[in-house]
Symmetry: C2
Subunit: 412 residues, 2 copies
């Protein structure tokens, strides 16, 4: 039976009515509204010949057993940021469910291999600042020691919030057992950026997730009176930072997919009548190629030191966080490309700037790929997040095609 | 009798012991410590044939009556910022007192014209944000409607704090009567900047106070995800602001004494993972020439609009405050130049970037000039503020010479 894209849209609208308010989606992981969304999902499984359980990290697993134990895994996440959109995460779960329904009918309840659908727990990390929570437990890259003591804004500990949802933080590593037999992983997601829209394309093939280098950079100059200090003797920390804010752009633009962002600038003393004595900035650089990312970082470092010297300042760097680039499976990228071309006539391959659960899965060596559908105006994490209905429909059809190609490959 | 510079230094040390703690001077206007400083000053008048009173704005007037009513006025301020230095303001009062002592002896208590010493009330505006309080009341440029409702950090109203010091805010304009007979005004102050130190000069002649244009400038771009937004489609408000932060420098450097400062930059949302959607900055521009200042302002305005357009942003400007440049008396500048040369062998003329009470006096048309003495490392408003003892001594001697030249001129 072909998939019914309208049923996916209708499911998403149902979920929105249940879990959003006037400010947007409120499915923050470990919250009552999130639990309500998961209950809604379980309700959708009625009548399907599937098994359902939550693993030790709170990931929700729905399994359609096949002739072989080896499993094709489809997945995404139902949790959202506060005041989030109606598609981020749940599109992939709803589309995966529809593909599962189709397989159930086509194979009379018994496909040649096992099909699984996972709803990862806490992809967003919105409440405790730990994103990719469930998928990192699955992958064995979780960090219990750090996570155990995380607090939310109200001082509730992560450990405590998880216990209320039936998850023991000490045991989340046991979710690794779900890796057994997983032979491929597919994830459909909205792009959350403007690339496909600018190219007038409904769908894209994701090559992998970019590596990230995230740093705090502070320039130290000399605070001075704005009226009595001649221009020629100033040691203006803001001037050095401004030069870097502009220089990171040509550094990134040398590479087609690289990005570099100075997202925060703080000036001290930060008053109208004083030359800036200290300027604190942040830098976020991303690329899919580990060598490109390393060279961008070293260029930015050298530039910051040059600008500091030019302005009579000093500079220090402190790494906030980093992750290596993760490439998806070449074979699945080919399948995804075919599926997109067969559906939309034209395909485009692009890296993902944002991270996704698929990156954690890919790190374990399980062949993985993602498909993107266009985001209007690149907006996400916002109630204005949207995608044209025709593009959503194309996404469901293309994702089903990708799943069938992968199933066929795994069944040989 | 020649002035005794060591007595001035000893007076300043006495005042410091009385009104400073381990963090610096605490003579904040309208505070008990400030009143203690003024009481100390009155104690220093014992035995001198002078009249003393406070005017309607709280300015402290010490008068040595002469044969003629026309008066030579010397002045400065005893109030300090919190954690201030030992020289800012009080050097001018202590040096003025020493000159007054010398005149008293030389003219056997009756100089040919009247000599007055004023300690202006609340030059710094440290507590209520209204600087040049007493001198603006003297000049008739005070702003009762605005000042009446000012609050300090603890919510105490200016009106209330003044009443505790015997000043009725409704009547401060009556201080204008003190303008009567004032024929010249002289003020000695530390430079509070690095110009004289860099030239290895102990003393300088102040040409006037620079005009100030102070503006809030906000760039509006588009907040976007740092990972998913390609460099080419960004509308980065920080990039436009960074260009302006750098461009104001060549704009100011075209003119020998002009300064331009971006003292505060705030980024919104201001997080490491988002392109800056809004960037709020401040600009402070100063020059002694009203036309130079106007042309700098219009160049900065045009540059900001050009940069906004280049970055796909918009920009808006809002004036925070401005004041026109104020030039001192050409004749008194000549006297001051002679006095400095006779004392130090070499003189240098410079504008003042910071404002001073002398600017308010000059606005009334009373011939006015200031003398600067070197500040070490340009530091002020800080307990580290200092000047070499030899420079302080030279300053007292030169200021006495300036007063004598002015007295002679007024006595003709």
């Amino acid at each position: 039976m072909p998939v019914d894209p309208l049923r996916v849209i209708s499911d998403l609208e149902e979920l929105r009515a249940l879990t959003a308010d006037e400010n947007g989606a409120q499915r923050i992981a470990w919250s009552p509204t999130w639990l309500k969304a998961r209950e809604w999902f379980q309700g959708k499984l009625k009548g399907l010949p599937v098994e359902h359980h939550y693993d030790a990290a709170g990931n929700s697993w729905t399994t359609l057993p096949g002739d072989a134990d080896r499993a094709l895994v489809l997945g995404s996440h139902l949790d959202s940021v506060p005041n989030g959109g109606w598609l981020d995460g749940c599109l992939g779960v709803a589309a995966g469910l529809e593909v599962l329904r189709g397989f159930t009918e086509d194979f009379h309840g018994r496909p040649p291999i096992t099909i699984r659908l996972v709803d990862w727990a806490d992809e967003e990390g919105a409440r405790f600042g730990r994103s990719l929570f469930g998928s990192s437990a699955f992958a064995g890259t979780h960090t219990i020691a750090v996570d155990r003591v995380r607090n939310d804004r109200d001082g509730v500990r992560l450990e405590q919030a998880l216990r209320l949802c039936g998850v023991d933080v000490e045991k989340i590593g046991d979710a690794g057992v779900e890796r057994k037999n997983a032979a491929a992983y597919l994830e459909l997601h909205i792009e959350q950026g403007p690339v496909l829209e600018n190219m007038h394309l409904p769908l894209g093939v994701v090559l992998g997730t970019k590596g990230v280098e995230r740093h705090a950079i502070t320039f130290h100059g000399q605070e001075a009176h704005s009226g009595s200090t001649p221009m020629t003797v100033r040691r203006d920390a803001l001037a050095a930072a401004a030069k870097l804010a502009l220089e990171i752009r040509p550094i990134a633009k040398k590479h087609p997919d690289a990005v570099a962002t100075m997202g925060s600038v703080k000036t001290f003393p930060g008053i109208v009548t004083a030359v800036v004595g200290r300027c604190e900035t942040t830098l976020d650089m991303r690329d899919l190629d580990v060598e490109v990312l390393a060279s961008m970082l070293s260029e930015a470092l050298a530039a910051s030191e040059r600008f500091a010297a030019e302005e009579g300042c000093t500079v220090d760097w402190s790494r906030i966080w980093s992750i290596e680039p993760i490439s998806f499976s070449p074979r699945l990228i080919e399948f995804c490309d075919e599926a997109v071309r067969e559906t939309a006539g034209i395909s485009h391959r692009l890296p993902s700037g944002p991270l996704h659960d698929a990156a954690e899965v890919a790190r374990t060596g399980i062949p993985t790929v993602m498909m993107f559908t266009q985001s209007l105006a690149g907006l996400s994490h916002n109630k204005a997040e949207d995608t044209r209905a025709e593009d959503l429909k194309a996404a469901v059809v293309a994702f089903d095609r990708l799943a069938r190609k992968t199933l066929k490959w795994l069944s040989v």
